[in-house]
């Protein structure tokens, strides 16, 4: 017994830089506080308390990220990288998270109240559900969203694969739960949750197996250690290649690249729209951040092993996303396939494997995130008796009914299509230029052609909204509360400003560029 105690004394206390980790810790701390709020604050005040807590925490964490800007170090015994790309993505994810929380906090659109279910445990259609007061909301969603947000912040900052895996789960588990919390069409929502969960667990098993094989190859899961092992190694590459491929499956699943995209339309459609917005923007940003770190830090020296595979995936992603989006009749599914196509465009930036590729991808991520959140925010506004009117035919003539909302949506679509003077154009330009410089010209040609296909379905929606006669029983456009209005305004502002004046952010992305080793 004494021997054990003596040996335990040998462990030197680990150093954890709480100050430098503050943004993440604030978000996780607020999530914990949120759980306590559920336990101790009376029902009547819970909603306000949760929203206030979440917004305060996100703003505080954002301030923390701003203060930390420029740091370039490794924290918490090497588990967390605190470098430019990590902080850039943390800031982006926080801003997107803020917009998503604002959407989640919307309660005035629907007679039924929030987009979130009143009581997830109450069976749909049961007496217990009907007994719920109409303003009841499952307020646990807010701490869950904060947990997911914390995971999204850590995911791209993780400096070893184990931390990355845990972060992946921290961001995924709350999202699985949130997907099932839609107030209307609950069965659809729950099915989305099950599908997302099963496929997510499946893909994280692949991630883990890849991690295990890389551990076998390199003897460590630290990215810098793997990079060292790949350099000048005489070992057979079997473990390395298979391990990286399996690891990539897990990451590509999260960023919905073909052929790991099949969950995307279902989940985007079934989840409550604010959650969809959060997933579409936040998860994509975080997953791309992680992919960039893995490929650029851990596997920069073996890029000839992964680039051919990524070429194929990027091309497939662009083509499948764009082509399938054309056939969709539901606005949320269409946006889901469009997000698949955008994952392909982003992958061209990743494949560039140079400094421009990194900064261009970072810029594109931010631009895309805000445009997507704005677009989904507008989807929440168009409603009829059954909730959101997501079928495309219901959007006919919306431009006549409410030109402002339709105009904003058209603008978001044009940005997604990459028309000049929108952020989407600047982003596409940045990644395509990087890809050509990185020797991936054919990829850019495919990207341009699929952009043309993608433009078709964006334009189709604009045609529908502006040039068709509105249906007699068409949906109404709800008057948003300041929450949703703020989210839409944020999306619009970022999309315009980055389209007209992208320079400051490009500078920021360029300064952020080098990863810490």
């Amino acid at each position: 017994m004494s021997a054990i105690v003596a040996a335990a004394g040998d462990i030197t206390a680990p150093s954890i830089e709480y100050g430098a980790l503050a943004p993440m810790l604030i978000v996780f701390g607020a999530a914990l506080l949120g759980v306590l709020v559920e336990a101790f604050v009376p029902v009547a005040h819970r909603f306000a308390a949760q929203v206030g807590l979440a917004i305060t925490a996100i703003v505080a964490a954002f301030v923390g990220v701003v203060v930390l800007a420029g740091s370039h170090s490794v924290l918490a015994e090497g588990a967390v990288a605190n470098d430019g790309p990590a902080l850039f993505i943390e800031g982006t994810v926080l801003a997107l998270g803020l917009a998503s929380i604002l959407l989640l906090a919307e309660r005035s659109l629907d007679a039924g109240g929030s987009a979130l279910v009143a009581q997830a445990a109450a069976l749909p259609g049961s007496a217990a559900e009907r007994a719920q007061p109409s303003d009841a909301v499952q307020t646990e969603a807010f701490p869950l969203a904060l947990f997911a947000l914390g995971g999204m912040m850590l995911f791209p900052a993780a400096n070893d694969l184990l931390t990355m895996f845990v972060a992946l789960e921290v961001l995924s588990l709350p999202l699985y739960l949130l997907c099932g919390l839609a107030r209307r069409r609950r069965l659809l929502s729950q099915e989305a949750a099950v599908k997302y969960f099963l496929l997510g667990a499946f893909s994280s098993a692949f991630f883990l197996y890849g991690l295990a094989l890389l551990y076998g190859y390199a003897g460590t899961v630290r990215l810098s250690g793997i990079a060292d092992a790949t350099r000048g190694s005489t070992k057979s590459d079997g473990l390395l290649v298979i391990g990286l491929a399996l690891l990539a499956v897990g990451l590509l699943f999260k960023l919905s690249a073909v052929p790991f995209h099949s969950w995307t339309p279902d989940v985007y459609q079934g989840a409550p729209t604010p959650v969809t917005a959060f997933m579409a923007a936040g998860t994509k940003v975080a997953a791309f951040g992680a992919l960039l770190r893995v490929l650029y830090v851990g596997f920069a020296d073996v890029r000839w092993d992964w680039r051919p595979m990524m070429w194929i995936i990027a091309i497939a992603t662009m083509v499948v996303g764009a082509v399938l989006a054309v056939t969709q009749t539901d606005i949320k599914r269409m946006l889901a396939y469009s997000s698949v196509a955008h994952a392909g465009f982003l992958l061209t930036g990743v494949i560039a494997a140079n400094k421009e590729g990194l900064s261009g991808t970072l810029f594109y991520l931010l631009a895309y995130g805000f445009t997507t959140i704005g677009a989904f925010a507008i989807v929440t506004l168009v409603r009829d008796a059954g909730g959101e009117a997501t079928h495309l035919s219901r959007w006919q003539g919306l431009g006549r009914r409410s030109p402002l909302v339709a105009g904003a949506f058209a603008f978001f679509l044009l940005a997604l299509a990459g028309i000049p003077l929108t952020s989407g154009f600047a982003g596409k330009f940045a990644v395509f230029a990087a890809a050509i410089k990185g020797g991936a010209t054919p990829l850019v040609v495919v990207g341009v052609l699929t952009s043309a296909i993608a433009a078709f379905f964006y334009v189709k929606v604009i045609v529908l909204m502006f040039f068709s006669e509105p249906a007699a029983d068409g949906p109404t456009v709800a008057i948003p509360s300041p929450f949703t209005a703020a989210a839409v305004a944020l999306g619009l502002a970022v999309t315009v400003v980055l389209g007209v004046m992208p320079q400051p952010l490009l500078d920021l992305a360029q300064q952020a560029a080098p990863f810490v080793r």
Binding site: F432, I436, T441, V444, V448, L449, A452, A455, V463, Q503
Partner: protein
Amino acid sequence: MTSFPWLTTIGLVPTLGAVAVLAAPKTREQAAKSVALGTSLLTLVLTIVACVRYDAGGSRFQLVESHSWIPAFGVRYALGVDGIALSLIALSAVLVPIVILASWWDAEDGERSVRTFFALILVLETMMIGVFAATDVFLFYVFFEAMLIPMYFLIGSYGGAQRSYAAVKFLLYSLFGGLLMLAAVIGLYVVGNQQLAGSIGSFDFQTLVNIHITPGVEKALFLGFFIAFAIKAPLWPFHTWLPDAAAEAPTGAAVLLVGVLDKVGTFGMLRYCLPLFPDASHYFAPVVITLAIIGIFYGALLAMGQPDLKRLVAYTSVAHFGFIALGVFAFTSQAQAGATLYMVNHGFSTGALFLLVGFLIHRRHSRLVGDYGGVQQVAPWLAGAFMVAGLSSLALPGLNSFVSEFLVLVGTFTRYRTAAVIATVGIVLAALYILLVIQRTMHGPLRAGLEHTPDLSLREAWVIAPVLAIIVALGVYPKPLLDVITPSVKATMHDTGTTDPAPKLPVAQEGDK
């Protein structure tokens, strides 16, 4: 440059006007229209001032402005005009007030916002001026794409029965071309980036003209630009969107679409394709010339058999764009000057035809040739104006198009004889289709239902008179315009590394074709 930013001002005034028009209360729509007209007239005045300040013998680009915009990509907000750009800006500035006046009552069906219509036209004017004035390739591309949006809404919201189909077709064709061009623009940037070591690369036109590109890459980049321009121009076989778009667009928008927007395509070929990719341009010139000649015949033949008046005018444009492309790729200064002049002339003559066809359609509510006949008997002024516009379109000597067509053919002949001879046949066809349509609609027995057709109203007369005046003026005395154009064309020729072939035959010999 510390001097007054003329081009920015000219470009900005219509946008400000558009904002004012949109901001007007719904009850003051008529006042809003006047604001729109006033703005466009102000723009015209400013453009005239700019033209006066332009020194035809001076440096290549004048009225230059240049500010850093996106340094990360080396993009500058750089404006400047040479003679080619200036004449096209002048064309736009003249046409917009005419179009506004012509469309005075076109948006009044009560369903669509009147203010939006005029605001869109003004925004379009900004884009048109910007696209011609840009000297930064990126900025050019931005205007090139952004220009589509107002036109898309003009066609889609205010057009005819098939408007939504036509608008989407128009937008998709143009976007597709634009995206190809984007790939080429990025490629050009990267190539430039590699050559201009030490800087972040540049999109400056004059810098890019001087870089050397390997032949294979140059051909690919050329194709990227050229296909975009060929779709825009539109050159056969990329033209299929034009008849639909022009036929469905409201009259005013159709005038701007064919009169100015499509010129961006030929302008781009002359101003960007040739100087930036001289070798590739030479390489592809036979192909382009073949396409152009096919276009001349194809457009003419389809125009002849076309029962729809608006589509007919659109097909004549396809033929005319064939001539312009022929002139651009003939690589002689005469042909290119002729092509540039042709762009301006075509803007006025086809503009006049669209306006007059619009007036006719407004009276009879039918676009079919067969529904008209003997209009001359009831509306002699209208018929007369139509006659003049038509004769201008078939390049009757004494009217504007003659000069340009003649120059194009002479210039082409010195380098590509066969092509010039074949193209000359196209003129005969042009005479046929124009005279046929004039005969069918204006002459002959009066069709039933046309008995009470009013002649030109005062507003319509005001609309058409300036255009006809310009048509005649440029036909009689094109020298001032040619003086402005020729030095710029020579500079372009210099960029392509080409000199005019020494004339082996006296020019007069081809003159009597």
